[in-house]
């Protein structure tokens, strides 16, 4: 059984007098123990909201409705009361966020921000907690950890801050780590270091990692399985290699095609997906991607496309998928040839 099984998760923000916004609209995916799973998509496709819903961290506001299931180790996280959720958060499921500076409390030393997790979930206090905190900082590659414990977030560099946040997240050896765009706010060189660190931690501890990103480079370097999200729904799920080699959903194809290439000729145009995430069709009326899709046919509109499972364990939600290369040449490749 999977460690985390998200089934038909939906998040709706309703405002009085306005149309409800379906930020997440029936997302299903699973994460096995020790696996690295990617959740990929453009801004606004519901990646972050999905992770926050799983953690129970969505801002409490009237009009917020969360539906579906998120079963972690046999318990539906969405049904838990606030107290049991707090017990699980930070201990069994931990999370790291996008902007390390704003994610750290500016007026409290790093040390306390690490030890407070140890105190809360492992009952450690005083010297024992400080010692453990120092060894955690050491583990995530922060030099001179004893001194760093007394320092404040503004005294650390961006990479060090993200390392400190990772130290807090892995403090209780969680079984699932959710990383929401952990490298977006960092320099490219630092990005690589942080990804290496995460990879190493996951490999050594057997923690499962749910990697939320818009960066296909991150996915290529880390993930075992990838879920591509569009308009609040998973449109394609595949293992990493098949996904990159032969994407089936036109949106995945578009995502891969829009990555700038270093070996592209000078003056060659980038290849973005036309339109924006805002031009989406509500799922019940058909495929949300249809308005931007190059392979749109009449069947795309009218009813939502069913999830198609293929023999090699991948699935996509499209009535006119990209043909597997080798059988019929894909139109995009024809153009570039």
């Amino acid at each position: 059984m999977a460690l985390l099984e998200v089934d038909d998760l939906s998040v709706t923000f309703a405002r009085r007098g306005q149309r409800a916004v379906h930020a997440v609209d029936g997302v299903s995916f699973s994460v096995d123990a020790g696996q690295v799973v990617g959740l990929v998509g453009e801004s606004g496709c519901g990646k972050s909201v999905t992770s926050l819903a799983i953690m129970g961290l969505l801002p409490k506001q009237p009009g917020l409705r969360v539906g579906g299931k998120a079963v972690f180790d046999g318990t539906d996280l969405l049904q838990l009361d606030d107290r049991s959720r707090r017990d699980i958060r930070g201990r069994d499921i931990a999370m790291i966020f996008q902007d390390p500076l704003s994610s750290l409390n500016p007026v409290i030393p790093i040390g306390l921000q690490v030890t407070e997790v140890l105190t809360r979930h492992r009952g450690m206090k005083g010297d024992a907690a400080a010692k453990e905190a120092a060894s955690l900082l050491d583990r995530v590659g922060i030099p001179d950890p004893k001194r760093r414990l007394k320092e404040y977030p503004h005294q650390l560099s961006g990479g060090m801050r993200q390392r400190a946040l990772i130290a807090m997240a892995v403090a209780c050896q969680p079984r699932l780590l959710i990383a929401d765009e952990p490298t977006t706010a960092l320099d490219v060189t630092i990005q690589a270091q942080i990804l290496e660190l995460l990879k190493g931690l996951v490999r050594d501890s057997g923690t499962a990692l749910l990697m939320i990103t818009h960066d296909l480079g991150v996915v290529a370097g880390m993930c075992d399985t990838v879920n591509v999200l569009y308009g609040g729904r998973v449109v394609e799920t595949a293992r990493r290699r098949p996904l990159f080699r032969e994407p089936r959903h036109p949106y995945t194809v578009g995502l891969l095609g829009s990555v700038p290439r270093l070996d592209a000729g000078r003056g060659e145009k980038l290849n973005p997906i036309p339109g924006s995430v805002r031009d989406l069709l509500p799922w019940p009326d058909g495929c949300a991607f249809a308005p931007r899709c190059a392979r749109r046919i009449d069947d795309c509109v009218g009813q939502p496309p069913e999830l198609v499972h293929t023999y090699d364990g991948r699935s996509y939600r499209c009535v006119n998928p990209e043909p597997v290369p080798g059988t019929v040449p894909a139109p995009r490749e024809e153009e570039s040839a």
């Binding site: 707090r86 930070g90 931990a94 966020f97 750290l104 007026v107 409290i108 404040y152 946040l165």
Partner: protein, 334 residues
């Protein structure tokens, strides 16, 4: 930290120097000159000349200024023209009353304002929020003297819960040490005197606290709302910390920064501006005394008052800066 305090105290010197210059010029520019200020309109030319000679007004202006500064340094602020007593003595007797009143008012305003502002933010859009925001608007709108009279009418004249005027019951014959009546009572172990002085403080302090309370509620509420949306609060929640830890360690501490600044400004304002409250409650503090001095054209008193207020503002702001560096490591001073 110590060097910071010393540096800030040294900054007092140029401030006071500039102020002394302003005061000196002001004194010379008084309508009819200082002698008219002292004698009034009816002095004969001979009397004027005598005063000018006595006060050294016939000497060169720089010599006069030098003497003026020397007297300031010796804390000799001259003699009140209305009470005929040394201004310094008057202030030593009265200023502690105002300080006591201000401290009590600020304790009330902070003690109620911060929790109320916090709760309003947490219950945003619900009854408590609307009630406290609306209430604080009323608090700002009601003139202090009006509130003072209403409190007096209800709680002292009708219900007889609190005394209506004065700082202490004179029949107690309390011993004076510092002129802080509550402190004196505690120091001399005259418990009844301390309690009575405290009792006299309640109504004026409530009246005086109304505006600072309203401001603190609003600033706290706005600040907490802002902090609640910060990423680090989400991080704290993601760590599974208890609600109490999140609230105290992560929300309140960060939300206190703007509140600390406003508390400093408010406290300075109260020390200099308790005139109405003190007058309504016949509370013999500096405010009521100065209000009278203005009417009597008692220039030495006004001058001393301006000097004291300047010093108070500098000191209060020093305290605010110190508290700031205590709360926020990013502005920590070395």
């Amino acid at each position: 930290m110590f060097r910071f305090i010393v540096r800030r105290l040294l900054q007092l010197i140029p401030t006071l120097f500039g102020l002394s210059l302003l005061l000196f010029i002001w004194l010379r520019r008084l309508p009819g000159g200082p002698e008219t200020a002292i004698l009034g309109e009816r002095g004969t030319p001979e009397m004027r000349a005598a005063i000018r000679r006595n006060m050294g007004l016939d000497e060169p202006i720089l010599v006069q200024y030098g003497r003026f500064v020397r007297r300031m340094i010796k804390l000799d602020l001259g003699t009140s023209t209305s009470t005929k007593r040394a201004v310094t003595t008057e202030f030593i007797e009265r200023f502690p009353g105002t300080v006591e009143l201000t401290i009590t008012a600020m304790i009330i305003a902070i003690g109620i304002g911060i929790p109320l502002g916090y709760l309003a933010a947490r219950r945003r859009g619900r009854f408590l929020d609307h009630a406290s925001v609306g209430g604080s608007l009323i608090g700002i709108c009601i003139p202090v003297f009006f509130l003072g009279y209403v409190l007096k009418a209800i709680f002292s004249e009708n219900l007889h819960w609190f005394p209506s005027s004065g700082r202490q019951d004179p029949t107690l014959g309390a011993t004076r040490v510092t002129n802080f009546f509550v402190l004196d009572g505690l120091m001399t172990r005259e418990w009844d005197a301390a309690a009575d002085a405290l009792w006299h403080l309640v109504l004026p302090a409530i009246a005086l606290a109304s505006i600072p309370l309203a401001i603190i509620v609003r600033i706290t509420r706005a600040s907490v709302l802002e902090v609640l949306n910060e990423d680090f609060v989400r991080t704290a929640e993601a760590k599974g910390l208890t609600e109490q830890t999140v609230r105290r360690r992560h929300v309140l501490r960060n939300a206190m920064l703007p509140v600390a600044t406003s508390i400093g400004l408010l406290a300075g304002g109260l020390l200099s501006g308790a005139v109405l409250t003190e007058t309504v409650f016949a509370f013999s503090g500096i405010g009521a005394f100065v209000a009278e001095a203005i009417g009597q054209r008692d220039y030495p008193v006004l001058m001393g008052f301006i000097l004291i207020i300047a010093v108070v503002y500098v000191l209060v702001n020093l305290l605010v800066d110190l508290s700031y560096s205590f709360i926020d490591p990013r502005v920590r001073v070395r």
